[in-house]
C-alpha cells in the first residue's frame, strides 16, 4: 500500500470517530426498519403495547448518544469532511434532549403497528440535525438537510388518521422538495463561483477575491430563500398553518422546532464563510438588508395573523413564525462580534428555550386530548383548570414563556436578543430591537387569550381526557426546565458562550 493511501484511510477513520453519536442513532434506525416489519401482521396490525417497546428502544438509543456526546472529546477540528467545534457540541446537546422530549410526545400518538418506523424517523431526523451542524462541505450539508426532510414526510404521514393528515403530509412534501431545489440551485451557483464545495475553501476563495462575487450573492439569495421555507419565515410561511392544523400533534411539535433549529444552524454555517470573508461586499450590500426585512416582515405577519386564529395549532404555527422573526434579529446582529451579548449567542439561547416551550405546549395539548382526538379550537380548552389543574398550570407557564413574561426562560431569551440588537449600536438594529418589543406586546394578546380561556371560562363538559404518562412526563420536564432556566440561566448561558470562543 502506498503512502498517500494509508494517509487517506487514517483520515477516513478519524473522521468516522467524530460522528459516533450519530452512528448510534442511525444504527438504531436500521434495527427498527429491519425488525419492525416482522412484528406486525400482513394487514399492518401489531400486539397492543408494542409501541412501548419501540419507544423504550428509541429512548435507550438517544440516552446512549447523550452519554457519548457528554463524554466525547471537545477537540476543535476545522478541516476534513466533518467540522467539530463548540456549535456542534451545543447543537448536539439541544437536539438530543429535544429528541427525548419528542419521543415522549410521540409515544401515544402512533399506532402499535407503525411505532417502529415512526420512532426510527425521529432518530434519523435527530442524526440529520447533528450532521447539519457537523457538515464542512456543501454536499454533506445538503444531504444532512435531506436526512431531516425525508423522515419528516414519513413522520407526518404515518399517523394517517384522516384526509387532513394526508393533505398536510403531501403539502409539506411538495413545498419542502421545492425549497430543497431552490437551495440546491444556490449551492450550485456558489460551487460554480468558487470551484469547490469545501466550506473553508469557499471562504478562502471569497477572501482572496478583489471584486464583488456576483454569483455568490445570487447563490446566497437562493440558499436563504430555500432555508426560509424550513424556518417558515415570511413570505415562505404559507404552508405552516395548514400543515400544523392537519398533522397529528406530535408532527406539529416536531415541525415547530426541528426544521427551525436545522435551518438556523445551516444559515449560521453558510453565512459565516460566505459573508464574513468579504465584508463590505456581500454583507453590507445585499445579505444584511435582506435578513433585516425578512426579520421585520416575519415578526409582524406572524403576530398579526396569530391574533386572528381560533384554531390552537394554527395559532401555534403563526406563533412559530413570529418567533422565527425574533430569532432572525439575532442572526442580523450576529456578525458584529463586538457587541455584548453577541447576536449568535442570543439566538442559540433563544432556540433552546423556544424548543422547550413549544414542545412543552404541544405535550400539554396531547395530554389534554379527549378520546384520542386532537384538541382543535380554543373553546375546547375552556375551564381546563377545573378539570385538569396541573395541565392548565403547565400550559400557562408555556404561554407566559412564549409571550416573554417572567418568571420564565422565554423572558430572558427575549431580553438577550433585545440587548444584543440594542448594544450593537446601529440605528437599523435599534429599530429591530424596538420592533421586537412591539411584537412581543402584540403576541401576548393571543397567548393570554389561551390562559384566559383556561382560567376564566366554565368548562363545556366534565371530560377528563386521557392520563397517558408519556406526554405528561414531557410537559413536566419542559415546565421544570423553563422555570429553572429563569432562575439559573447561567447553566445554559455558559454553554452558549463557549460557541464564539472557538
Amino acid at each position: 500500500m502506498s503512502q498517500p493511501d494509508a494517509a487517506m484511510i487514517s483520515s477516513v477513520t478519524s473522521a468516522a470517530g467524530k460522528v459516533i453519536p450519530e452512528l448510534v442513532l442511525l444504527g438504531t434506525v436500521c434495527i427498527n426498519f429491519l425488525v419492525g416489519p416482522f412484528l406486525v401482521t400482513p394487514s399492518g396490525r401489531a400486539l397492543p403495547g408494542l409501541r412501548h417497546r419501540w419507544g423504550g428502544i428509541a429512548i435507550a438509543a438517544i440516552c446512549t448518544a447523550l452519554y457519548l456526546w457528554w463524554t466525547g472529546s471537545t477537540e476543535v477540528v476545522t478541516t476534513g469532511p466533518f467540522r467539530v467545534d463548540n456549535i456542534v457540541w451545543y447543537v448536539r446537546g439541544v437536539m438530543l434532549i429535544a429528541a427525548l422530549l419528542l419521543v415522549l410526545v410521540n409515544w401515544s400518538q402512533i399506532e402499535d403497528g407503525k411505532a417502529a418506523e415512526s420512532h426510527a424517523c425521529l432518530l434519523a431526523i435527530t442524526a440529520g440535525v447533528n450532521l447539519v451542524a457537523l457538515a464542512n462541505d456543501l454536499t454533506t450539508l445538503f444531504l444532512a438537510l435531506e436526512l431531516i426532510s425525508i423522515p419528516t414526510y414519513l413522520f407526518l404521514f404515518l399517523p394517517r388518521k384522516d384526509a387532513a393528515t394526508q393533505e398536510a403530509g403531501v403539502k409539506y412534501f411538495l413545498l419542502s422538495v421545492f425549497s430543497s431545489a431552490i437551495m440546491l440551485y444556490g449551492f450550485s451557483l456558489i460551487y460554480g463561483m468558487a470551484g469547490t464545495t469545501d466550506l473553508p475553501a469557499i471562504q478562502t476563495a471569497l477572501a482572496n477575491s478583489n471584486q464583488t462575487p456576483v454569483l455568490a450573492i445570487l447563490g446566497m439569495v437562493f440558499v436563504v430563500a430555500g432555508l426560509a421555507f424550513r424556518l417558515t419565515a415570511v413570505p415562505f410561511h404559507f404552508y405552516a398553518p395548514d400543515v400544523f392544523q392537519g398533522s397529528a400533534a406530535s408532527g406539529a411539535a416536531l415541525l415547530s422546532f426541528v426544521p427551525k433549529l436545522a435551518g438556523f444552524i445551516a444559515l449560521i454555517r453558510l453565512l459565516e464563510p460566505v459573508v464574513d470573508a468579504a465584508p463590505g461586499l456581500l454583507l453590507a450590500d445585499v445579505m444584511l438588508p435582506m435578513l433585516w426585512w425578512l426579520s421585520v416582515i416575519t415578526m409582524f405577519v406572524g403576530n398579526f395573523l396569530g391574533i386572528l386564529q381560533n384554531d390552537l395549532r394554527r395559532m401555534l404555527a403563526y406563533s412559530g413564525v413570529a418567533h422565527v422573526g425574533y430569532m432572525l434579529v439575532g442572526l442580523n446582529v450576529g456578525h458584529h462580534t463586538t457587541s455584548v451579548p453577541d447576536g449568535i449567542e442570543a439566538l442559540l439561547f433563544y432556540l433552546a428555550v423556544y424548543g422547550l416551550m413549544t414542545i412543552g405546549a404541544f405535550a400539554v395539548l396531547i395530554a389534554a386530548e379527549r378520546d384520542n382526538k386532537p384538541l382543535e379550537t380554543l373553546d375546547q380548552l375552556a375551564g381546563l383548570h377545573r378539570v385538569r389543574p396541573g395541565l392548565a398550570l403547565m400550559l400557562m407557564v408555556f404561554m407566559f414563556s412564549l409571550a416573554g413574561m417572567p418568571p420564565t426562560a422565554g423572558f430572558l431569551a427575549k431580553l438577550n436578543l433585545f440587548f444584543a440588537a440594542w448594544a450593537q449600536g446601529d440605528v437599523s438594529n435599534r429599530w429591530l430591537a424596538l420592533f421586537m418589543v412591539i411584537n412581543a406586546a402584540m403576541g401576548s394578546w393571543y397567548y393570554l387569550r389561551v390562559v384566559g380561556a383556561m382560567y376564566l371560562r366554565e368548562p363545556l363538559d366534565e371530560h377528563h381526557g386521557s392520563h397517558a404518562p408519556a406526554p405528561i412526563i414531557a410537559s413536566v420536564a419542559c415546565t421544570a426546565m423553563v422555570i429553572t432556566l429563569f432562575f439559573v440561566p447561567t447553566w445554559l448561558w455558559t454553554m452558549v458562550q463557549t460557541v464564539r470562543s472557538s
Partner: protein
C-alpha cells in the same frame, strides 16, 4: 440609462425570448401556434448572437451551437406544450442537448449519467405518472397556463440576472476568483484532465466524498423503507 444602453443587446434578446414564450403558450382564444414557431429560430439565433463568441475552432463551435441550440429549443418547447407527454419528451431532448455540452467540456461521465438518470429514469417516470393520472383531455391546469404573463416576466428577469452574474464572474473583463487548491483538505483532488472521467469521479467519490456517499445511502434507505411503510395495506394482507 447608461446601464440600459450598455446592455441593450441583452435586454432586447430577453424581450424577444419573453414574447416568443408568450406566443407559444397555449391559450383559449387563439388556436394557431404558427407565429410562435416562426419566431422561434429568430429567438434562438438572437440568443446565440448575443451570448456566443466563436472561439475560432470551427468543429467545436459547430458542435457547441448544435448542442446549446437543442437545449434551448427543447426547454422552450417543453414549457409551452399543451400535451404533458410531449412536454416530457421535449424535456428529454433538452437534457440530450445539455449532455452534448457536457461532452464538449470533457465531462463524459457526467454526460452518460445524465442521460441514464434524466432521459432514462426520470422521463420514464414522468410518462408513467402521466399515463396513470391523466384523465380524458387532461385537467384544466395542464391545458392553460394560469399566469402566463407574470410567469414569463419573472422567468426572463431571473434569466437576465443570472446571465449578468455569470458575465460579471466569467466574462472577458472579469478576474475570476481563484481557489487556492492547496488550502483544500482534499489530498487527492483529481488532476485537471482527470476531472470528468469515470476514474476521476470514482476516486473523488470514494475518498473525499466517502461520507457524503454513505449519507446519501442512508437517505435512500429511509426513503425506500418509508415508501413501503406509508403504502396503504389491503385488509386481507399483502401490499
Amino acid at each position: 440609462m447608461n446601464w440600459v444602453s450598455e446592455n441593450i443587446a441583452l435586454i432586447g434578446t430577453l424581450v424577444l425570448l419573453g414574447a416568443n414564450i408568450l406566443l407559444l403558450f397555449p391559450s383559449t382564444g387563439r388556436k394557431s401556434g404558427i407565429p410562435g414557431f416562426l419566431l422561434l429560430p429568430v429567438t434562438v439565433a438572437g440568443l446565440g448572437w448575443v451570448f456566443l463568441q466563436p472561439t475560432g475552432d470551427l468543429v467545436r463551435d459547430l458542435l457547441f451551437y448544435m448542442a446549446s441550440g437543442t437545449a434551448v429549443l427543447g426547454g422552450l418547447l417543453m414549457t409551452t406544450q399543451r400535451n404533458p407527454v410531449y412536454a416530457a419528451l421535449w424535456f428529454a431532448v433538452a437534457t440530450l442537448g445539455v449532455c452534448g455540452l457536457f461532452v464538449i467540456n470533457s465531462a463524459p461521465f457526467l454526460a452518460a449519467v445524465t442521460i441514464i438518470v434524466y432521459a432514462g429514469a426520470i422521463v420514464v417516470t414522468f410518462v408513467f405518472v402521466i399515463m396513470l393520472a391523466q384523465q380524458e383531455q387532461g385537467s384544466g391546469y395542464d391545458r392553460i397556463p394560469q399566469q402566463p404573463f407574470l410567469a414569463t416576466v419573472l422567468g426572463c428577469l431571473l434569466v437576465g440576472t443570472m446571465l449578468l452574474g455569470i458575465e460579471k464572474t466569467f466574462g472577458p473583463d472579469s478576474s475570476r476568483l481563484s481557489v487556492d487548491r492547496t488550502a483544500l483538505h482534499v489530498s487527492s483532488l483529481p488532476v485537471e484532465n482527470d476531472l470528468g472521467s469515470p476514474g476521476g469521479v470514482g476516486r473523488s467519490l470514494f475518498t473525499d466524498y466517502l461520507f457524503a456517499v454513505e449519507l446519501a445511502g442512508t437517505v435512500l434507505l429511509v426513503a425506500t423503507i418509508g415508501a413501503i411503510a406509508i403504502a396503504p395495506r389491503r385488509p386481507q394482507g399483502s401490499l
